[in-house]
């Protein structure tokens, strides 16, 4: 116990150096916690923005369509019938269903033309599944039966369009002939998912079906469930389709979020790399501290050996000191990390600082990433930091304790 006391008292020596080491460890912890919060926040927001503005919780379509869905084909579409609708609607845990007809189009404002994605929606059903209606910044979503369109603010700015302007969508029908959809803009939307703002034109489903000559077909059905129930509902739907010999398949939003999931996996790798750097900084700080202390206290180590202290007892004294530095650095890091994460959760980090919106980086976030709390990261980092402090002190402490007593006493 006296060795423990001595180790703690040694923390008050070389105050400046100890404080610098503690600050370095604290800053490394702080950086990690901030980055972890930002990455987790980005992941959460990305997933929410996908579910709430793009995919819904579950998408139902034919596997053949699913494979080619990026191409927005007019093949393998779903022709809704009562049997299908019933098997979907009767599934437990379902909160809404939105049929969608996705198609390629060129948006023409009379002067310029730009490639966009057309989206035929049944507005009442769409509003049950998606939150886009809450982000209409000018005008409104079109009402049922209205032959109007809603586009994103960014697209409107690009094409110099405003509410009540008329637009023409040049489309290729199912039969490979050209057709146009002429509609008035009912509203401009600025959704948290930049993909909605930049390149999608919402039109009524019946208008799209008629223009594309696809009858009552839709590309897919977007479903809303209680968050977290996706897998259960997906399985129930798949079973139900199988029982009714329907070739339809249900896909959880995770399957259409491959790029975001890949980004999330990369995030884990990135976080791991940051963690390694943080721990390396901590280790180097501690090793440096123990070596310098041992060099400065060579005569003292000699005296300890003369008193008959065993090597492990001397190692223990240094380890206590190193652990103290690790604990103080970890605590300080967690404290300033808490403050930093609080700021990030409250005020967020604007993507505009690094230019553009999230779509330019492949993330469905418009302008500001908010941090997310990851409390286990605090305790995990703190414990890991202390363990690393203990472990990294062993070798240099052992090096110090192994000194020849005569050489140590006379500092030769």
């Amino acid at each position: 116990m006296f060795s423990f006391k001595l180790g703690l008292k040694n923390l008050t020596r070389q105050k400046r150096r100890n404080v610098i080491t503690i600050m370095v460890i604290a800053f490394a912890f702080f950086s990690y916690l901030l980055m972890d919060s930002l990455m987790n926040g980005m992941e959460e927001m990305s997933f929410e923005n996908l579910k709430n503005y793009d995919t819904g919780n579950i998408q139902v379509t034919y596997p053949e369509y699913w494979e080619d869905r990026e191409e927005l084909p007019l093949e393998n579409l779903i022709y809704l019938n009562q049997d299908m609708e019933e098997s979907i609607k009767n599934t437990d845990g379902l909160l809404g269903m939105s049929p969608e007809l996705r198609f390629k189009a060129n948006l023409n404002n009379g002067i310029d033309e730009v490639a966009v994605q057309g989206m035929g929606i049944s507005i009442e059903q769409y509003n049950q599944v998606f939150n886009t209606q809450n982000y209409v910044v000018e005008g409104s979503m079109f009402a049922p039966g209205e032959s109007k369109a809603v586009i994103g603010v960014s697209l409107a700015e690009l094409m110099d369009l405003k509410v009540n302007d008329y637009i023409t969508l040049l489309v290729r029908t199912k039969d490979d002939t050209f057709n146009t959809i002429d509609v008035e803009i009912a509203g401009l939307v600025r959704a948290p998912n930049p993909m909605i703002n930049n390149g999608i034109v919402f039109v009524p489903l019946d208008v799209a079906q008629q223009a594309l000559n696809v009858g009552n077909a839709v590309s897919m059905l977007a479903l809303k469930t209680v968050s977290g129930d996706e897998d259960t509902v997906t399985k129930a739907l798949t079973d139900s389709f199988k029982n009714k010999n329907l070739d339809l398949k249900a896909y959880s939003w995770k399957e259409s979020a491959a790029s975001v999931i890949a980004l999330s996996a990369a995030k884990k790798g990135g976080i791991g790399a940051i963690l390694s750097i943080v721990l390396l900084i901590g280790m180097l700080g501690i090793i440096n501290n123990v070596i310098l202390s041992a060099l400065e206290r060579t005569e003292e180590i000699g005296m300890m050996k003369a008193l008959g202290m065993r090597e492990w007892e001397i190692v223990f004294v240094f380890m206590v000191e190193a652990t103290g530095i690790g604990i103080l650095g970890g605590l300080a890091g967690c404290l300033i990390g808490y403050a930093g994460v609080s700021g990030l959760v409250k005020y967020g980090f604007s993507i505009a600082y690094i230019g553009g919106d999230g779509s330019e980086f492949g993330i469905p976030i418009l302008d500001r990433i908010y941090g997310a709390w990851n409390y286990p990261a605090f305790s995990f980092l703190f414990i890991l930091g202390v363990v690393i402090a203990v472990l990294s002190s062993i070798l240099p402490a052992y090096w110090a304790a192994k000194k020849d007593p005569v050489k140590a006493i006379y500092h030769r």
Partner: protein, 229 residues
């Protein structure tokens, strides 16, 4: 029976390819309770001899016996245990731990050997500090003590575990004559009261006169060995 016996002890240091003999065959017997001084010119081997006796170093040749136990070929661990329980050291530069008070510096030594109750331990430490004339200065740190006071703490630290043998390498070299006399007075007093054996090296004639045995070391060999009452 002698407390300490050295038979033909040699110590040769290797400096690159050159062998430097520090001790060239020392034979010595020290009885319990002796107050022995080792003197001689610089480089005569005084410190090397003390290191051998103190189990801090091992001889290249020859045998050392402490309490009739051969210690010259023991392992590092075993030597540490011999030092812990049998030998006290007093160094020229005190070697006190600066973050510990005078009390704690002494307590540090006794904690390694004594596992009695807190109150008994406290009593022993305070008594020892009082014996060396440091009553009232127990809570001072080394930087708040004079050189003489620091050396008294070092003596108390060496004595508190009641070792059979205390080795002091130039214990008064950093002290003025008044403090040096004070320190040697205390060593002599402890030698008489506790029958602890003291062996110390010194250059100081004033210190030498306190000893009852004089060993003159020259070129790594004992050139004179006198006892005086």
């Amino acid at each position: 029976m002698s407390l300490l016996e050295l038979n033909k002890v040699k110590k040769i240091y290797q400096q690159g390819k050159i062998e430097v003999p520090a001790l060239r065959g020392v034979d010595l017997e020290v009885e319990e309770g002796e107050f022995t001084t080792i003197f001689g010119p610089s480089g005569s081997g005084k410190t090397t001899l003390l290191n051998m006796i103190g189990c801090l170093d091992t001889p290249t040749e020859g045998e050392i016996r402490l309490n009739d136990k051969k210690v010259s070929d023991l392992s590092r661990k075993a030597l540490a245990m011999i030092r812990r329980y049998n030998i006290g050291f007093v160094f020229q530069s005190y070697n006190l731990i600066p973050v510990l008070t005078a009390y704690e510096n002494v307590e540090f030594a006794i904690r390694l050997t004594d596992h009695t109750s807190e109150s008994q331990m406290k009593e022993k430490v305070l008594k020892m500090l009082a014996e060396v004339g440091l009553k009232g200065l127990e809570s001072r740190r080394p930087n708040e003590l004079s050189g003489g006071e620091k050396q008294r703490v070092a003596i108390a630290r060496a004595l508190v575990k009641k070792p059979k043998l205390i080795l002091a390498d130039e214990p008064t070299a950093n002290l003025d004559s008044e403090n040096a006399a004070g320190v040697v007075d205390i060593m002599r007093k402890m030698n008489k009261e506790l029958n602890t054996t003291f062996i110390f090296s010194t250059h100081d004639p004033m210190v030498m006169k306190y000893a009852n045995r004089y060993i003159n070391l020259k070129d790594g060999m004992i050139s004179a060995d006198e006892r005086r009452e």
